[in-house]
Structure formats: C-alpha cells, structure tokens
Symmetry: C2
Subunit: 119 residues, 2 copies
Amino acid sequence: MMRGHLDGLVLAVLATGPSHGYGLIEALRDRSGGVFDLPEGSVYPALHRLERAGLVASGWSEVGGRRRRVYSLTVSGRRAAEERRTEWRSFSAAVERVFGVGDRAEAGPAAGFADGAAV
Amino acid sequence: MMRGHLDGLVLAVLATGPSHGYGLIEALRDRSGGVFDLPEGSVYPALHRLERAGLVASGWSEVGGRRRRVYSLTVSGRRAAEERRTEWRSFSAAVERVFGVGDRAEAGPAAGFADGAAV
DNA sequence: CTCTAAGCCTAGCCTTTCTAGGTATGAGCC
DNA sequence: GGCTCATACCTAGAAAGGCTAGGCTTAGAG
C-alpha cells in the first residue's frame, strides 16, 4: 500500500518533466529501486484525481501509432509538489524518532505485563 | 492521516514497554515532537485491531480510581514490530530516492508541455 | 494466428482513519 | 452542590485511498 503518499510521489516525478501514465509507473519503479511497482489501477485514478484538483494538466499525444495521455504539472501542482516534499520530510523525521526510541530498548523488559496490569 | 503507518508506530511504542491507550497517544505526541496528535477514534480501534491480530494482549488495571486497559506486545507482536521498522526503512529510502531526483531538477524545463504533447 | 508489450480505462471492494458522539471518575473551584 | 477540566474508555458511520479484476486497442514478434 502506498498509503496516501502516492500523490506526492507522482508530483515529484512530474516535477522532473512531463510523462504519461505508463511511463510514470516505470519511472516510479526505476527511481525507487524496484520498491514501488504500482498497478495501473492505482496510478490512473491518482492522475485523474490530481487533474480534477488542478495540480496536473493533460494532453493527448501519439507515439509509434499508440496514443498517450501526457501529464504535466500546473503552477499550483509545482507548488504542491514542494509542499508534499516538505510534509514528507517532517512526517518521515517524526516516524524516525518514534522508531528510534526502540533502538535502545532491545534490552528492555521482556514481553509481558509489568506494572499493575493483570491478564 | 497516518496513512497506514499507525500500526507500526503503536508497535514501536509498545516495544519500549506496556502502555494504555491514552498514554500511547501522549507517547506518540511526545516522541514525534508534536507531529502526531492522534484522536482517540484512531488509536483505540487500532489497538483492538492489533489485539484481534494477536500482536498485542491487554489487561485491566486500576490507577488512582481510574481503570486502564494496558496493552503489551505478544511474541509475534515483537516480531511484527521489527518487521514494520524494516519495512519503514525500505519504504522511506525509496520515497527519498524519488523525491531526491527532483532536487536537481529545479532548473529543468518550466511547467508546460514539452515533447509532442498538445493541450 | 497468437502472444506479449505498450497504453488507456473503470466499477466495486477492502482497509484504514477520522468525526462525532457517548459514558464515567477524580480534582479543583466557587 | 454544581461546574469544568483532565483522564480514560468506547463505537457507528462517513470518507478516502489503493487494489483487484476486469475490459478495450494497436504494434510487433514468432
């Protein structure tokens, strides 16, 4: 599950240049080192959502007899891409802090109820 | 929105010791530096979900005339906490790579259609 | 002719999260 | 006594996002 980060990632890819849906899937797979291998059923609706929100604009093109719908960031889309990246850094740092506390707790009390808890 | 990372974060907190729901909310707020301020309606269902899944176990305790439901990791919960952390690192690194590409693209082609795209 | 890759699409399901309500106790204040 | 606040639990239902699973077309290879 991409868990709500899909939009930000799509915007990030489009911030490096226009792309079509199928190419976007490949770009995400490549840039993520193979971690993100998204089904079309995730990406296409996301693009439509972003277009409805005015963050991307699309146009048709034809390459090698095949039609493509090419997406590009709008001005607010470019701004949104920046925002999403900032939000990600903040979110990521926060998660890291929470996980980080556990790094030192490996030698803590073993699983089970301490305290006044009774099972 | 916590976007699917809630379970991992809850498990991470419980990996440092047993806690009750209300205390968990405070722990997440504190450890995240105030970034995570979760409503009870998110945390309580999450705990119940984790208990149904066998990752945490609960017991009642009474402190200062108030009853508390104290949650603690089970053995598989402890394993799951580790897994979630590993998954997070991988996910986080992948997102970072995708966002990272854009770092250098700020001077790229301005927003708009390059290529053969027509609006 | 068949199969694969490139390309697009959507309906409906499932899961997670949040909103918005409810209940109860203890403590401090007037 | 009555008020409010912090502590502490709970759930129903809405909203949103992503995925499954289908469907469509053209080009090219075998």
